[in-house]
Symmetry: C2
Subunit: 346 residues, 2 copies
């Protein structure tokens, strides 16, 4: 008999509310013979204030035992900026070598977009997750004086770039349009840019069916609002990926529906799935948060674990639910989760 052993990290703010709905839909969609075990972990602001800890070695050992991780959101204004981001979120992505940060963008029927003319948007961003300007390399001298110097070092390796570029080519090859865009800034960041471009061009030779293009990150933001239908698969570095996926989420229905997977493709470590949105402390505890992004992250989680049909069922349910919202009064977090759970029940 099959089983899923899931680590659940509700986290801060609306994380609690949306994760509860994600789990509700997960339970509803799974076939009877699949045993679902969940263990909740109390990471985030509360734990930090109580113990000063964000993510210990013991925590990592415990998390490592699970098949996958579902995360709500981490972050609270009571904690200085960077402490939980670097000390928890990024620490986990790096420790578990989540080098493929997968972020699909699809404008579903009936969903509002800030763009005129309801364009057809259906692409996926493969964002590198363990290198670039996110390594934490750098430092500060003469802090707080008029002579302070602060540096940030973007570290890029052929090893790290090639594996994520290969992942992106494989995804592009498997999609009907077979298109892949590399986004970087190789005319200014020439060291990292040339590495990315060289590796990209080299791997491209192994995928003659994939149509490729290169685009500077600044130009990419223009295309994302003027011609978003042009994109199929995008591969990019950690920081550019952070920026373009928020913009992509905005144009394709908002961060209320943007899901993501922090994937370790080899399976050496559990992968982590989370909505792109943050903890939104301003609306926390009010039942106003849209759990759809978390529910769609559960779909990515299921697909990752091999439950393709169940993942697809969730995606269809969210799609149908969104289409039915048009012109209706807003529902609570719980009502949306409940409606989705009903829809996916086989």
């Amino acid at each position: 008999s099959r089983s899923i052993d899931l680590a659940v990290i509700p986290g801060d703010g609306i994380g609690q509310e949306v994760v509860a709905q994600g789990l509700k839909v997960l339970s509803a969609v799974l076939p009877q013979d699949v045993k679902l075990e969940t263990k909740e972990y109390d990471f985030g602001a509360r734990r930090y204030h109580a113990t000063g800890e964000t993510l210990t070695d013991a925590d990592l050992d415990a998390l490592k035992q699970h098949d996958a991780i579902l995360l709500g959101a981490i972050g609270d204004p009571s904690v200085p900026s960077g402490v939980l981001e670097r000390g928890f979120l990024l620490k986990l992505r790096f420790a578990f070598d989540h080098h493929v940060n997968l972020r699909p963008s699809k404008l579903l029927p009936g969903v509002a977009t800030p763009l005129a003319g309801q364009p057809e948007i259906d692409f996926v961003v493969v964002r590198e997750g363990t290198e670039g300007p996110y390594t934490g390399n750098g430092g500060t001298i003469r802090k707080g004086t008029p002579h302070e110097v602060a540096t940030e070092v973007s570290v890029n390796t052929a090893f790290g770039v090639e594996r994520v570029v290969r992942d992106a080519f494989a995804r592009a090859q498997a999609r009907p349009r077979k298109k892949l865009a590399l986004i970087h800034k190789n005319n200014v960041l020439t060291f990292a840019g040339h590495l990315w471009t060289d590796v990209f061009n080299r791997v491209a030779e192994e995928y003659p069916e994939v149509t490729t293009e290169y685009m500077h990150v600044d130009a990419a933001t223009i295309y994302l609002v003027t011609q978003p239908e042009r994109f199929d698969v995008i591969v990019t570095d950690n920081l550019f990926g952070d920026i373009v996926t928020d913009l992509a989420a905005a144009v394709s229905g908002g961060i209320g529906v943007a899901a993501s997977g922090n994937i370790n493709p080899s399976g050496e470590f559990p992968s982590m799935f989370e909505p792109v949105h943050g903890s939104a402390p301003d609306i926390a505890g009010q039942g106003k948060a849209d759990p759809s992004a978390t529910v769609l992250s559960v779909a990515l989680l299921l697909r990752h674990l091999g439950y393709e049909a169940e993942g697809a069922r969730i995606e269809d349910a969210v799609s149908a639910d969104l289409a039915e919202r048009v012109g209706k009064p807003a529902r609570s977090t719980d009502e949306i989760g409940e409606a989705l759970a009903v829809r996916v029940t086989g």
Copy 2:
């Protein structure tokens, strides 16, 4: 009697065409008593192919003699990516200490935007121009091997950050809404981010009338498409500024109308004014390029040199010209320039 001694760099691709119109409008708008002298410099791809040079010390000495510089566009596919960008554009910005890179975004009446609902957009980005990831610091080891490592170092100094933050506060104070947003990524790039945030908060105390906010760069891209009317003045680092100003141009009428100034506020070196768009080799020589961005850059140039009324007259002319375009057949580069020259003639 007054005079303007201008260095003109038409550059590559459409640069030639749009600069010609910029100069036409400049001549037309200037009062009789102002003597305009221009000297053309042949920088860009042609010079690079002929001599291997991009910008020599002698070139810098010559340019330094002028009151200001008008640039069309630099860049051509025949030159490897980065050579002209680093060897000319960035070299000039750094050599002449153009630390205030000023990029206004205004959605003019009648101008098409990719956003639904024709939002009110009127803000200006103050982009730092001489630091951050643009310094060229970094390097590559084991190039071309599976063990290649490429780094990019973002360098940020209290000196460099404070002067551009002060410039932005002064601009915000002078505008009716008096709002200033700092855009960075201080939850991840904690060294540089904390420097920017600390300096920003410190200077803010001297400007009690200015309403400030901080925004991560990823969130900023969302607001730029969902609530662009929220922005008044934005201050940000060199790379984030590059990205958000292209997006800002896209939502506020496109890069056909986006102007910029690379400003050295002390006047120690001449400032340089250029359209945000590139050399667009695909349409070069066809008379299709819109010279409006260059003409608006001439307006910024005039304002910088103290010709406020003339700058305003150009801006009004472009605004009126754009409003009249609606539903009309496209005009040539020359026709648009001519129409603007007629409009500004006092």
